[in-house]
């Protein structure tokens, strides 16, 4: 019984210490200053060059992790678009040219705030191109073309806009709309360079829904060209 009383007495003292420690830590956390991410037009060392910036992040170990990192970029001023590739840990950001353009330090901070570690600095233009290609290749269509089926009728004006959007995708050589059947045929310069997501995005940008993307029958896997 004496031992039990001693344990309980120690517990009560420890309770006070732990509650005090918790309060102090939480107060300290609440007082943390958050760095400003806007007004980075100056040419300080943290300025990021180019329309896009790519870098690698370590520790992205699950789908929830990717979401947590995406949340950081969702609310970062000056980030127009972001893509987190869980398969490689590579992140590609599209940045604004305005005064809210984030500095490299702000990007670094966002990665840390997500609970992850920046594995590289900003990658060069060639690496960015590779990153974009990697993202496309991950769901690349292993054929020399594909047909995009769109839900509902497509008016001529929208079809022109979609054709233009599809034409600027790297690896697309020709776009042939068939409005009577609400579909587009897209020819590729090389099999495996264009991703299905890229094709869908280019059409759905104009408010239409893609019901299917069917690769051409002359697939590379089959040995035909």
């Amino acid at each position: 019984m004496q031992a039990r009383s001693l344990v309980n007495a120690i517990s009560r003292r420890a309770a006070v210490i732990v509650v005090f420690s918790v309060s102090s830590l939480l107060m300290a956390a609440g007082c943390e200053t958050i760095p400003t991410t806007g007004s980075t037009t100056s040419t300080d060392a943290g300025e990021v060059a180019g329309e896009t910036v790519a870098f690698d992040v370590a520790g992205l170990s699950c789908p929830l992790c990717a979401h947590s990192l995406n949340k950081q970029f969702d609310r970062m001023p000056g980030v127009l678009d972001h893509k987190v590739d869980l398969s490689t840990g590579r992140v590609v950001l599209t940045l604004s040219d305005g005064p809210d353009r984030p500095t490299w330090q702000a990007i670094e901070r966002a990665v840390s705030d997500g609970g992850f570690t920046l594995a590289t600095g900003p990658l060069d233009a060639e690496a960015i191109a590779v990153a974009r290609r990697d993202i496309a290749v991950a769901d690349a269509i292993e054929a020399h073309g594909a047909t995009i089926y769109v839900a509902g009728p497509v008016d001529a004006e929208s079809a022109d806009a979609m054709r233009s959007q599809l034409s600027i995708i790297d690896g697309v050589s020709e776009v042939t709309p068939r409005l009577d059947e609400s579909r587009f045929h897209v020819a590729f310069t090389e099999a495996g360079r264009v991703g299905e997501t890229q094709l869908r995005d280019a059409v759905e940008l104009f408010g239409y829904t893609v019901t299917d993307v069917i690769p051409d029958g002359d697939t590379v896997e089959g040995g035909a060209s």
Binding site: A14, V22, A29, G59
Partner: protein
């Protein structure tokens, strides 16, 4: 013992599921803490529904009784920084007691229910070793206090602080977790049923292994992951009560939510002040927003 109507108890439990509390995050085994947590500004809401069957629980008449318990635990976590998160946890419980003919209180069934003691907790991840790709090793400490709900059947009516350490290692498709926690109990729940509700110090130690069943490798687009999990959970009270449990389960993680199920059974236990656990079935969901 307070006796309340079953539908009232069920209603209290249902309300408990709607009240805010605290939770953790990715690739976390069902019945233990991990070193993963929400990033800055990210909320995680977790709801755990559990059925537990106990036997040989002490009753007021000096005999024993069997207990069927349904609990709904609401947990809400928020990332203050990338490595510091706070969590609140509020459990609601309904217990059905079945006494034998040998009980001094007679052969009957009673129901108790209401809000059990709540928890406020902080988690500080003090070490993060991320490698390129998905591999990572993380270490965190937990600190907090279990506070009273003042439910006369379920509350210890005391403030009981706790501290803990946990670690999470992810290597490819394999996830390893471990943790210890000590709760400085300052008072006991009346007629405690669950181990840890007594008036003595309470130590837990956990190990877990998760294997990603699918996908074999992540693609560039976010997709759900399915894990098989196995846990070993050890629970000790300073007075000598102990339970060593094994808990197989499944976890599914989508980009913004996760679902889990786990069955916990004892492989060794010795209880005198609390009841013997026969089985625990837990199902839960986690939402990120």
């Amino acid at each position: 013992m307070t006796t309340i109507r079953p539908y009232t108890a069920a209603l209290i439990a249902a309300v408990g599921t709607l009240l805010p509390t605290v939770a953790v995050s990715a690739q976390q085994a069902t019945n233990q803490a991990s070193a993963t947590q929400p990033g800055k500004g990210v909320w995680v809401f977790r709801e755990r529904l559990a059925y537990m069957r106990f036997e040989n629980a002490p009753d007021d008449g000096g005999g024993t009784q069997d207990v069927d318990q349904f609990s709904a635990e609401s947990i809400l976590a928020y990332g203050i920084t990338g490595d510091l998160a706070v969590m609140a946890h509020l459990p609601a419980k309904v217990r059905w007691f079945t006494r034998g003919r040998d009980s001094a209180l007679g052969d009957r069934r009673d129901v108790d229910g209401g809000l059990a003691d709540w928890t406020l907790m902080g988690q500080w991840r003090f070490l993060r070793v991320d490698r390129v790709g998905i591999d990572t090793a993380r270490y965190a400490m937990q600190f907090g206090v279990e506070g009273p709900s003042y439910n006369e059947a379920l509350s210890s009516e005391s403030f009981d602080p706790f501290i803990g350490l946990s670690t999470t290692h992810i290597v490819g498709r394999h996830g390893f977790g471990g943790g210890v926690r000590y709760k400085f109990n300052t008072d006991s729940v009346p007629n405690p049923v669950e181990i840890g509700d007594g008036g003595d110090g309470y130590l837990t130690a956990d190990l877990s292994y998760l294997y990603r069943l699918s996908p074999e490798a992540y693609g560039s687009e976010p997709e759900g992951s399915t894990y098989a999990q196995i846990e070993l959970n050890a629970r000790y009270e300073v007075d000598g009560d102990r339970q060593n449990l094994i808990a197989p389960g499944l976890l599914y993680e989508a980009p913004t939510w996760a679902a889990e199920i786990s069955v916990q059974v004892p492989i060794d236990q010795r209880t005198t002040d609390t009841a013997d656990l026969r089985v625990s079935v837990v199902a839960g969901v986690r939402l990120l927003f």
